[in-house]
Amino acid sequence: MSARAPGRVRRGLGAGTTWALVLVLVVTFAGPLVWMGLTSIKSTGEATASPPTLWPQDVDLSAYARLLSMDGPYPVLRWFLNSLLAGTLHTALVLVVASTAAFALARMSFRGRGLVFGVIVSTLFLPAFVFLMPNYLMIDRLGWTDSVWALVVPGAAGAFGVFFLRQFMVGLPAELEEAAALDGANQWRVFTRVVLPNTRPALATLAVLAFLGNWNDYIWPVYVLFSPERLTLPAGLKLLQGAYVTDYPGIMAGAVVASVPVILLFVLTQRFVIEGVARSGLKG
């Protein structure tokens, strides 16, 4: 990209324009998040003072102390653990079911493969809200309402995961598994020893996207969870907002607890996330 012909008419933006653009973008996109963090360490009085203070005059961590007690009416720490458990189990399940199915669809030829793939593809065109009510009835029948299983299982068979991994596995050279098959490996060994290790970047991308999606999901947990101690962070934030109304440090502290893990995850796995999103667009 930097190896442009010297004769190009315009090489890029001027330094001044560039830095102005950088500043505006950083303030616009990171500013509200910084504001959220700063508000969470103010006293309730200071958070609603007029004019507002930028930096807290007295750092007040009582919002966190209130929220992190396990037994209060709004047990944010418990919601955090619920979200973490649901997100982890969901991600694990997605990886297992999507990778095995993708392996069969990518590396094996069998009767009915086209049909199975076609049916999976066709569900991509149905909007998610069509499934909400029938799935609610299914969860109800299974006795899974108000439990972590309602958050882990139903979304695990999304077509995207299979699609994404299959695309990656189709591109692997056939010699890899032929060598393993010559050594007498069966398909399970080919899958676990040859195909999976070579699919690691795609698995990492899918894992991060599945975890983010599950952690952030809003509609479904709001409708399938009832007990305050069973909620995930998004459902808990709704409860918190309704109950505390103007305890802005408390609500912002809850939002910080819900944001920090995904921001950290994003910072650590940026490459995988952006890669995954970019590739979802190239399909079109």
Binding site: V22, A104, V153, N216
Partner: protein
């Protein structure tokens, strides 16, 4: 799994496993898929043909009555449903132009080599990794007319006077009066999801051949001309994808309105999805709600096809035009 088979006496060099091996690999996925995707899709249709009240023992078959009720102005559901559809349509029309054009401009700016480019790309994408719940409670605070920092900043910079000239009250009622509630919902959604489309555009821009830009530059094309005759035709398929996905995403708007306006003022920002969920899971009138869901999906399906065909069509014409000019 196929160990016994593999160690049989007649070993062939390239073993493909038993006929059921692929199905064994597919089984875990198909079990979840069948239970929570395939079966519910069919069951939803079935529900929509019944007077399906979750709390009632009898769920009588009513044929297409749930659908015809949505077309009958005298029915109770008619007003509720079409108010929701109107709100959803308003949000789609108000948000999609910004969500399609702003990320394209941003991606064009970020698609040049300058220090901090990767950092900036990450910052712009950052809000998208947050859930709508965080975004909702955060902006409920920021947009609060009396306590919120936005009105304070507008007052300090004097920009609030411009809004007052446009008819906004004092303080500007960002969430409790129209059109400000729509402005807020669109603005918050743009802030939240702009990075997603930007990343997709950036990936598309990388695929536009450099030589085309160089050729255009040699021909003396201005920056605007290069954008119009090289960039736009080059990313037309990506543009079609972005428009289609953005329309669908905006038509699914729920959390922002649920947390920021509660559907108000009045029911003006109560979207179709809010109406469907309230009807089905709030009032347990699941048959009616399922019918609403299918009507909305059919509508979205038609809009998607029209979008795609329209943009693909222009793809061909755009290319021809680009060839003529270069």
């Amino acid at each position: 799994m196929t160990a016994a088979y593999a160690s049989g006496p007649t070993r062939r060099p390239l073993r493909r496993g038993a006929p059921w091996t692929p199905w064994a690999f597919l089984a875990p996925f198909l079990a979840v898929f069948g239970t929570f995707v395939a079966l519910p899709a069919v069951r939803g249709l079935w529900m929509s043909l019944h007077d399906w009240d979750h709390l009632m023992p009898d769920k009588p078959f009513v044929g297409l009555a749930n659908y015809t009720a949505l077309l009958d102005p005298t029915s109770v559901l008619f007003q509720r449903f079409w108010d929701g559809m109107t709100a959803t349509g308003t949000f789609v029309l108000a948000s999609v132009p910004f969500l399609v054009t702003l990320p394209l401009l941003l991606a064009t700016a970020l698609n040049r080599a300058f220090p901090g480019r990767t950092f900036l790309r990450a910052v712009v994408f950052l809000p998208y990794v947050l859930g709508v719940a965080v975004v909702g409670v955060l902006f409920r605070f920021v947009l609060d007319p009396n306590l919120g920092v936005l009105n304070h900043l507008l007052g300090v910079t004097g920009l609030d006077r411009v809004l007052h000239l446009l008819g906004a009250g004092d303080p500007v009622p960002w969430l409790t009066a129209q059109p400000w509630a729509w402005v807020s919902l669109v603005g918050v959604t743009v802030w939240w999801t702009l990075g997603f489309n930007t990343i997709i555009y950036l990936a598309g821009l990388q695929d536009v051949p450099r030589e085309l830009y160089d050729a255009a530059a040699v021909d003396g094309a201005s920056g605007r001309q290069r954008f119009r005759h090289v960039t736009l035709p080059g990313i037309r398929p990506v543009l079609a994808f972005v428009v289609t996905m953005t329309v669908l995403a905006s038509a699914n708007m729920f959390g922002q309105a649920d947390l920021l306006t509660g559907g108000g003022p009045g029911t003006s920002t109560r979207t179709a999805l809010m109406v469907i969920l309230d009807t089905g899971l709030g009032r347990y009138e699941m048959g009616a709600a399922a019918a609403m869901g299918y009507v909305l999906s059919i509508g979205l399906g038609v809009v998607s096809v029209v979008n795609f065909v329209a943009l693909r069509e222009r793809d061909g014409r755009g290319r021809r035009r680009a060839r003529r000019t270069s």
